[in-house]
Subunit: 472 residues, 2 copies
Amino acid sequence: MTSNEALEALRDIVGSSQVLPAADAASYLKDWRGEFEPAALAVVRPADTDEVARVIEACAEAGLAVVAQSGNTGLVGGSAAGDAQREVIVSLERLDRVREVDVDNATMTVEAGCILADAQQAAADAGLYFPLTLASKARCRIGGNLATNAGGLNVVRYGNTRDLVLGLEVVLADGRVWHNLSGLRKDNSGFDLNDLFVGSEGALGIVTAAVFKLYDPIVQQVVALFGLDDPADAVVLQRRLIAASGHNLTGCELMSRQSVELACAHIEGCDKPFAREYDWYLLAELGSSAEGDWLPAIMDSVVARAKYENRLRDVRIATDAASAIRLWHLRESLPPAQVAEGASIKHDISLPVSKLPTFLSRALPAIKQALPGVRPCPFGHVGDGNLHFNLSKPAGGDDSAFMAESEHAHQVVHDIVVDMGGSFAAEHGIGRLKVEALARYKQPVELDMMRAIKTALDPDNRLNPGVIVPKL
Amino acid sequence: MTSNEALEALRDIVGSSQVLPAADAASYLKDWRGEFEPAALAVVRPADTDEVARVIEACAEAGLAVVAQSGNTGLVGGSAAGDAQREVIVSLERLDRVREVDVDNATMTVEAGCILADAQQAAADAGLYFPLTLASKARCRIGGNLATNAGGLNVVRYGNTRDLVLGLEVVLADGRVWHNLSGLRKDNSGFDLNDLFVGSEGALGIVTAAVFKLYDPIVQQVVALFGLDDPADAVVLQRRLIAASGHNLTGCELMSRQSVELACAHIEGCDKPFAREYDWYLLAELGSSAEGDWLPAIMDSVVARAKYENRLRDVRIATDAASAIRLWHLRESLPPAQVAEGASIKHDISLPVSKLPTFLSRALPAIKQALPGVRPCPFGHVGDGNLHFNLSKPAGGDDSAFMAESEHAHQVVHDIVVDMGGSFAAEHGIGRLKVEALARYKQPVELDMMRAIKTALDPDNRLNPGVIVPKL
């Protein structure tokens, strides 16, 4: 079948206005971080699950591979198509409905093209709460959240995307549809396929909808910012805050001095939080959907003990919404501040929470030795053991000269992470960006299992080829 | 290789005293519910993961299949070996250590042969809390909990076994070992294989150890028993209790009038909870690890509103431990009371919580029509949508005549469950008992995926053949 015949077959399914030639599809052929220059034969925009299935079937017949895409805001090139002749991007944008909110079951059925913020709003409109939230929530879409098992700011309390999923609807490589949207909280009838598809980056099937667990809106909250000398104190504080609050630590973000300095330098509304600077800052939020006002007292009690033990240098506590937003603004300004400062080499690593201090004590000197003048800006979700160990270029340094050190930097950092049993891809995934690192760092036995499962579910390698599964 | 040569090879690995011929292995060849008469060539008791791996390899060479077994208390014949010539039971009892408790990471690494109650105690000894709990906790072992994705009494708050797992150590079909015990709370480096092995009933690999999330001990609690006319009120109450308490509903058990009557008739210490009887009872427990005493007020508030709306007939609230234990004793007495009453046909079903009332309004008349005189004793975990829809024989009826109706009863009940989008295997699993039902009720596309994954990871069908995956 020629390319033109294949495109004609796709037009027959979705209508000719929904098949965009690559030349008219710039927004689908962009890579969020600019690491890749995506290429595809066309972008196809099916209207519903049935059209997705027929598109997949038609692509299989035409010998075309399929790259599923929803918001295209991923950070590892997972939706960056890579072949202008043999790959088609299937955009799920038009599958954007919230199909159902079941209040008594506390669940919501959402299509893959729904924008995350819209899904949050649908839950709120029903008096419930969808806790998944990311910086890109106004732009990212549920399909990508599922494909990457997105993390974000609330994981310490509510888990990753996977932990919120009760069921999926998936179009398989042969175009058949698996329907599993019943919304069961217990089901041991067979292997757990839901969790296999979540986080599989479109390489095992195309998720078209999901049932999510919902929670209840937060009605009491307290936010505190701590100035610390030692990240080990952050580990102790997160553990105590979880215990004392009854697992109501809803945010727990560690910020290094350098990362906060850049935010204060570049981002409006960011002021130095204390009269003097500290090496580390910890932002902690307690929140509960239970009526009451006991969380501030719990925060005070944890703070008092930590002061007594000399574990914290300074603290600011926000009990009203406006002050809480100001503290969070500092945290949310760290990534844009790093962009504003110029070249930045990024790492998305995780370790057991208990090992973060040791990791920092190994990785910081190692990276300073490897990249003289580098300014490490580690920050992130300490309650999940997940740090964005980002490195800003030397002050006034050249962007491209610094970025040329990326591979070197990755190896220094990831070698330490893997040596300590950690992950070099904690929440952003593998995509095309880290597929070689995966081949390097994973145990052969795990690589073999991944390949065996990929072959079992996508024997012709038609779903997002080159992503997540290293080539043999 | 002859059987004798194979046994000799196994003795070389584990020592001759740890290879038991079937004749000396009665306790490993029992089926907890008496549905099967297990048979195996021998029982092998390896000392550690390395010995497990070598045993699997030796069995593969000898052409023997392997049935992993830990506590052997499962309810669906998942560890009931089925071939006296070609199957070997690998008992994991000797892998019974708690390898580590990491307090700052709030995790625990436990071997598959550890008794559940011992794992709970290890967490408690470290000041933490392992929430998985089952009636069989003094006898069941972690390996079986993982193999069946065990549920139990705390799922409404803490999830199933799968939700507590952060990583696994697994011996694969070819004897290689996958090491994934780092205890990461975030790791998107590849497919999610942990959740695939959990609940796979030993058919994809043999789990030898796991890292579990830990929580904090409960320090405030209130338990209430409600008398209700309508199970729909139980659904409303569970939703309100979750919302009002900030997701601190730790137990939520629905009990039918008949089930409570049998408990009061047969089990010591069970007294009628109210002056009159009600069609339904709901046992609800709120618990939190946060210091304080606000839960009783939250319970009072939910009760006051429900009374005002005429949603409950009667209530007993226990705020001290002794009264709470008495209320729970009633719930825990339901299964032994059904045993004492004679023949009982069992169903382990789930639906969205919101659909349970409709299910009961369909299934109760249908089963009464199908089995005249039957006494339905539904009870279970209403907060998870999971009911044990058990049926006691007609009063004074013949046990074996009633049990002869089992298949008929299963079909009536499961047809309704599946028609409503529910599961006929909610928490006990498939094992050998329900593998035909799985073949009948599952979508072909899901059966195909299960078979493809089974073949990918166990190409020679050597791991627990006949369990969970229907034959082609």
